[in-house]
C-alpha cells in the first residue's frame, strides 16, 4: 500500500512537473510566436508595398520593352509565365516576405535554424547578382546575335541565321557558366562543361570555315589583302547617293 502511495505521488509529481515545464515552455514560446506573426504581417505589408513600388518603377522605365528586346519575354511567354515586370515584382515580394518570415523564425531560437537562416541571407545577394547576369546576358545575346544577323544579310554571307544562332549560343553558354558560378552550383562541373562546349564550338567553326568554306575564306582573304578581282563585291555599278 505504502509503495502504491509513493508511486502515485511520484507520478503526480512527474506529471505536475511535466505540465509545469510545458506551461513554462509554452509561456516561453508564445510571445515569440506572437512576435513571429507580427513580423510576418509587417513583412507582408512591406513586401506588398515593395511589389507595388517596383512594379510602378518598372512600368515607368518600360522594363517590359527592354525584356522584349532581350528575348526574355519570348521565353516567359513560352513558359506560360507572366510579364517580366510582373515576375520581377512578385519575386521581390516573395524574397522580401520570406526574409521577414525567416527573421521572425530566428526569434524562436530553434537550435541549428539560425545558422541556416544566416546562410540564406548570405546567399541572397548572389542570387540577385546571378539574376542580373542572366538578364543582361540575355540582352547582350539578343543584341549581338541580331547585329550578326543584319551584318551577314547585308554582306550577302551564306547562312546568316546560323551565324546569328552561333553568336547567341556562345554568349548564352558563357552567361550560364557565370550564373552557375555565382550561385555556386556545380562550379567545377560547369567550368569543365563550358570549356568543352566552347572549345568544341570553336573547333567546329574552324573546321567548317577551313574545309566547307575554303572558297569563302579565300575570297575573304583576297578581298581583305587587296589581291582579289576588283569587280567582286561591287553594288552592280550602283551608287545609292
Amino acid at each position: 500500500m505504502e509503495s502504491e502511495v509513493i508511486m502515485r505521488e511520484m507520478i503526480i509529481s512527474e506529471l505536475t512537473q511535466a505540465m509545469q515545464e510545458l506551461t513554462r515552455g509554452f509561456a516561453h514560446i508564445l510571445p515569440r510566436i506572437i512576435v513571429l506573426v507580427i513580423i510576418a504581417f509587417a513583412g507582408w505589408v512591406v513586401a506588398y508595398f515593395l511589389k507595388v513600388f517596383l512594379r510602378s518603377i518598372l512600368r515607368l522605365i518600360k522594363f517590359d520593352k527592354l525584356s522584349e528586346s532581350a528575348g526574355a519575354s519570348a521565353l516567359l511567354t513560352k513558359a506560360a509565365l507572366p510579364t517580366a515586370t510582373e515576375l520581377l515584382s512578385r519575386f521581390a515580394f516573395w524574397v522580401a516576405w520570406l526574409g521577414f518570415i525567416l527573421l521572425g523564425v530566428s526569434v524562436l531560437g530553434i537550435f541549428g535554424l539560425q545558422e541556416q537562416i544566416a546562410k540564406f541571407f548570405l546567399f541572397l545577394p548572389h542570387l540577385i547578382v546571378a539574376l542580373c547576369i542572366m538578364f543582361f546576358g540575355l540582352l547582350a545575346a539578343s543584341f549581338f546575335s541580331r547585329a550578326a544577323l543584319l551584318a551577314a544579310v547585308n554582306a550577302n554571307l551564306p547562312s546568316p541565321r546560323l551565324l546569328s544562332v552561333s553568336v547567341r549560343s556562345i554568349i548564352i553558354i558563357f552567361v550560364l557558366s557565370m550564373v552557375f558560378e555565382e550561385v555556386g552550383v556545380a562550379e567545377q562541373t560547369m567550368l569543365v562543361a563550358f570549356g568543352i562546349a566552347f572549345g568544341a564550338l570553336m573547333l567546329g567553326l574552324a573546321i567548317a570555315f577551313g574545309t566547307g568554306g575554303k572558297d569563302l575564306a579565300q575570297q575573304f582573304l583576297e578581298k581583305r589583302f587587296g589581291r582579289g578581282k576588283k569587280d567582286e563585291g561591287k553594288e552592280d555599278e550602283l551608287s545609292p547617293l
Binding site: R146, A147, L149, N154, R161, E235, D236, P240
Partner: protein
C-alpha cells in the same frame, strides 16, 4: 589689325582646334570667302580640285579676302601638302603663281588620325566662325568634275543675295542616286514641304550665321550625332527657316561603290533624317504639300546611257533579307505590311513589283519604329537596307527603257505618294503612346 580684333571672337570649343591650327588662323585674320575641303588620302584627285578652287577664287572673288581650309583625317599620301601649296602670297605671286590682289591663304589641319566626316565639318565650321567668313563652301575631294564656275555658282548667292544655304543639283545617270530619288528627296519633301533634290550634299555653300548656329546647336561630343552631319546641316537650315536655294553644278561623276557601302550611306542619310524628325516634330507634322525652292539651272538632268546593272542580285538580296530578318521585321513593321512584303518576296512571284504605296508604308513604319526605338536604332537602319534593294530593283525595272521625262515622272509620282500618305506616318508616329 586682325590680331587686335581676335579677342572678341568667340571660340567654338577651346579644346577642339589644335594650337598650331589656331595660330595659323590668327595669322589669317578675317576673311570674306572660305572654302573647306575635307580629305583623307585624296592625293590622286585633290590637285585638280584645289587648282579649280584657286582659279575660281581668283576669277570671281579677286578683291575678297579668301582662305582654303583643309580638314584632313590622317592622310598618308601627302594630300595636305598638295592643298597647302595652293596658297598665294601676293609678293611671290607675280613670279611662279597666278597674280592676285590679296593673299590667298591655304591651311591644313589634321583633326584626327582616322577620317570622320562630322569632325571634318566641325573643323571647317569652327574655322569659318573664327575667321568670320561671310560665305563658305565645302567641296568634296571626290568632285573631280569641278570647274571654276562652281565657286561663283555656290558662293555668289550667299555673298551677294543673302541666301544662307546653297545646295547642288546634278546631272546624274538614271541608275545613280537611287537612295536619294526613292527615299531622301521624297521624304524630305513630304516632311518639310520643300523640293530639295540633294538633302545629302557634299558640295554646298552656307552663310557664316548658319554655320555658327549649326556649330552651336549640334551635339558634337556625341559620336552618333556626328553621323550624317551633312544631312543634319541641310535639315537644320530647313528647321531654322533659313533661305535656301539650289544651283546646278553639272554632271555628277559616277562613283562605283562596294555593296558594303550601302549601310554606312544609309546611316549618314536615312539615320540623320529619322533622327531629325524628333526635334522638328512640331514643324513637319503641320506641313502639307510642297513648294519649289529657288533654283538656278536644271533641277535634275538625266544621263540615259546604258549601264550594266545586275538586278537579279538585288532581288536575291531582298528575298534573303525578308526570309532571314523576319524576327527583326516583326518588331518594326505592322503585320499587314510584313505580309505584303513576304508575298512579293515569294520566288514563284514572277512579276516582282515593290509598289510606291508599299514602299512609302515601309519607310514610314521604319521612321516610327526608329522614333519609338523598338530595337537598337542602328539595327533599324541596317534592316532597311535589304528592303531598299528590293525597291531599287523595281525602280531600275520601271526606268530601264524610259526617257528622262519618264524617270522624272516616276520620281514625282513617288514624291506625291509620300505626301499623300503623310497622315499614315503621323498615325504610326503617335500610335501606342
Amino acid at each position: 589689325m586682325a590680331e587686335a580684333r581676335l579677342p572678341e571672337v568667340r571660340l567654338a570649343d577651346e579644346t577642339f582646334l589644335t594650337d598650331d591650327f589656331l595660330r595659323q588662323l590668327i595669322n589669317v585674320g578675317e576673311v570674306d570667302i572660305l572654302v573647306g575641303v575635307p580629305t583623307h588620302n585624296n592625293a590622286k584627285t585633290i590637285g585638280a580640285i584645289v587648282e579649280a578652287i584657286q582659279a575660281g577664287i581668283l576669277r570671281f572673288f579677286p578683291r575678297q579676302r579668301a582662305a582654303i581650309i583643309n580638314a584632313d583625317g590622317g592622310s598618308r599620301d601627302g594630300t595636305p601638302e598638295l592643298i597647302v601649296k595652293a596658297a598665294i602670297d601676293d609678293a611671290r605671286g607675280r613670279d611662279s603663281k597666278p597674280y592676285t590682289l590679296r593673299t590667298l591663304h591655304s591651311i591644313s589641319t589634321q583633326y584626327s588620325s582616322s577620317p570622320a566626316r562630322g569632325t571634318a565639318l566641325r573643323t571647317i565650321l569652327s574655322a569659318a566662325e573664327l575667321l568670320r567668313a561671310k560665305a563658305c563652301a565645302v567641296i568634296s575631294p571626290e568632285s573631280t568634275q569641278i570647274t571654276t564656275d562652281w565657286l561663283t555658282t555656290l558662293l555668289q548667292p550667299i555673298y551677294t543675295e543673302e541666301f544662307d544655304l546653297v545646295l547642288p543639283t546634278y546631272c546624274r545617270h538614271r541608275s545613280d542616286g537611287i537612295l536619294l530619288t526613292n527615299l531622301l528627296y521624297p521624304m524630305t519633301r513630304a516632311l518639310y514641304g520643300l523640293t530639295i533634290r540633294e538633302p545629302y550634299a557634299l558640295d554646298f555653300a552656307f552663310s557664316g550665321r548658319l554655320g555658327s548656329q549649326f556649330l552651336a546647336q549640334n551635339a558634337w561630343h556625341d559620336d552618333t550625332a556626328q553621323a550624317g552631319s551633312e544631312t543634319q546641316f541641310t535639315l537644320a537650315a530647313i528647321a531654322g527657316g533659313y533661305r535656301i536655294r539650289q544651283s546646278f553644278l553639272g554632271t555628277k561623276q559616277h562613283v562605283e561603290r562596294a555593296s558594303a557601302d550601302l549601310v554606312p550611306a544609309m546611316r549618314q542619310t536615312v539615320g540623320a533624317l529619322f533622327s531629325s524628325m524628333e526635334p522638328s516634330f512640331s514643324l513637319w507634322s503641320t506641313k502639307t504639300g510642297s513648294q519649289p525652292i529657288p533654283t538656278t539651272g536644271a533641277e535634275r538632268e538625266c544621263i540615259l546611257a546604258p549601264l550594266r546593272v545586275n538586278r537579279k542580285r538585288l532581288r536575291e538580296m531582298f528575298t534573303t533579307g525578308i526570309a532571314e530578318l523576319e524576327s527583326v521585321f516583326q518588331s518594326i513593321l505592322s503585320p499587314s505590311t510584313l505580309a505584303e512584303l513576304q508575298k512579293i518576296a515569294r520566288p514563284e512571284e514572277v512579276r516582282f513589283r515593290y509598289s510606291n504605296e508599299l514602299w512609302v508604308k515601309t519607310v514610314y513604319e521604319f521612321a516610327a519604329a526608329f522614333h519609338k526605338s523598338v530595337i537598337s536604332r542602328d539595327h533599324i537602319i541596317q534592316a532597311l537596307a535589304p528592303l531598299f534593294r528590293g525597291r531599287a530593283f523595281t525602280f531600275l525595272g520601271e526606268n530601264s527603257n524610259g526617257s528622262a521625262d519618264d524617270v522624272e515622272h516616276n520620281v514625282e509620282a513617288l514624291c506625291l505618294e509620300f505626301e499623300r500618305m503623310k497622315p499614315y506616318l503621323l498615325e504610326k508616329w503617335n500610335g501606342g503612346e
